[in-house]
């Protein structure tokens, strides 16, 4: 069991370091397409984190939806942007300062919440595939949210068509 823990720790720190590097590269990249591709790496790292947390279904959903679909959407959005692919090398001074302040505030709040909140920790780690249990719960206890999600998707799609049709 100890060997598994060491292995999990190694993978965690490797992936965490990769995610931080990819995230920093994403922010620092001048080219928006490269920026988006760095974000792909960061989101893939989140999927590995889910695996380490025994959330197998969430990990696959993360790959399929975020790494797959959402990133395609983002790349398309970049390609649709005229002449804005390369960002200007210098933003106005006021904008830089306010951006730095906002980033610092978000970072501070995140760290505060992480440290101050009393997170529930399972005594025994969940060590079973979660898809089947999720399926049963979705169809029994959470059937209403499940059907509402379908309505939400429908509304999203119709909205997308209405907006995108007006060229």
């Amino acid at each position: 069991m100890a060997a598994t823990d060491v292995f999990v720790a190694i993978v965690f720190y490797l992936v965490a370091a990769t995610m931080i590097l990819a995230g920093a590269s994403m922010v620092l990249a001048r080219n928006m397409v490269r920026s988006a591709l760095w974000l792909v790496l960061t989101l893939a790292g989140v999927a590995v984190m889910y695996v380490l947390l025994s959330a197998d279904f969430l990990a696959v959903a993360q790959i399929l939806v975020y790494v797959g679909a959402i990133m395609i959407l983002m790349l398309f959005a970049i390609m649709l942007t005229p002449n804005q692919v390369d960002l200007p090398s210098a933003a106005p001074q006021a904008q830089r300062i306010s951006a730095a302040l906002t980033a610092l505030a978000v970072f501070g709040i995140s760290v505060f919440v992480m440290l101050s909140h009393r997170w529930n920790v399972r005594a025994v780690p969940l060590d079973a595939p979660s898809s089947e249990r999720l399926g049963v719960l979705l169809m029994s206890t959470y059937v209403l949210p499940f059907e509402i999600a379908s309505l939400l998707l429908t509304a999203g799609m119709i909205g997308a068509i209405v907006i995108a049709r007006e060229e």
């Binding site: 398309f76 595939p129 249990r133 399926g135 049963v136 998707l153 799609m157 997308a160 068509i161 995108a164």
Partner: protein
């Protein structure tokens, strides 16, 4: 549970090494005699005129959006399919309602000719 992701980990590592190794080997072994034609983006292709980052048609975005919607729908199908033998007829009807809603959106897209290429 974690052990069952072992093959996935091996796959990811191999997938990372697989494209990098030939590139590294190629840059080490291959002789380098560049000239103007060889340095073109596509040898024996046409040279690009103007900037390559052009604005694409908004049409593509609509396809991407519809793809995302159905991708999210597909995500819901997996846990349902795994648990289907426990859920029985009730689960089948619930998923039927779920898909029926999305079929309305699909019919709307069809009706509005959103899926046709002009």
């Amino acid at each position: 549970m974690l052990e069952s992701f072992g093959p996935v980990a091996i796959f990811v590592v191999v997938a990372a090494i697989f494209p990098i190794l030939p590139l590294v080997l190629g840059s080490l072994i291959a002789p380098k005699k560049p000239d103007r034609v060889k340095l073109q983006p596509y040898e024996s292709g046409m040279e690009t005129i103007g900037p390559t980052h052009i604005q694409f048609r908004t049409r593509y975005y609509l396809y991407a959006l519809i793809f995302v919607i159905f991708d999210v729908e597909a995500i819901y199908l997996f846990p349902w399919a795994v648990a289907l033998d426990q859920l029985g007829l009730f689960g089948l009807i619930e998923m039927g309602i779920f898909i029926a809603f999305l079929l309305v959106a699909f019919a709307y897209a069809w009706k509005k000719r959103a899926l046709e290429w002009e």
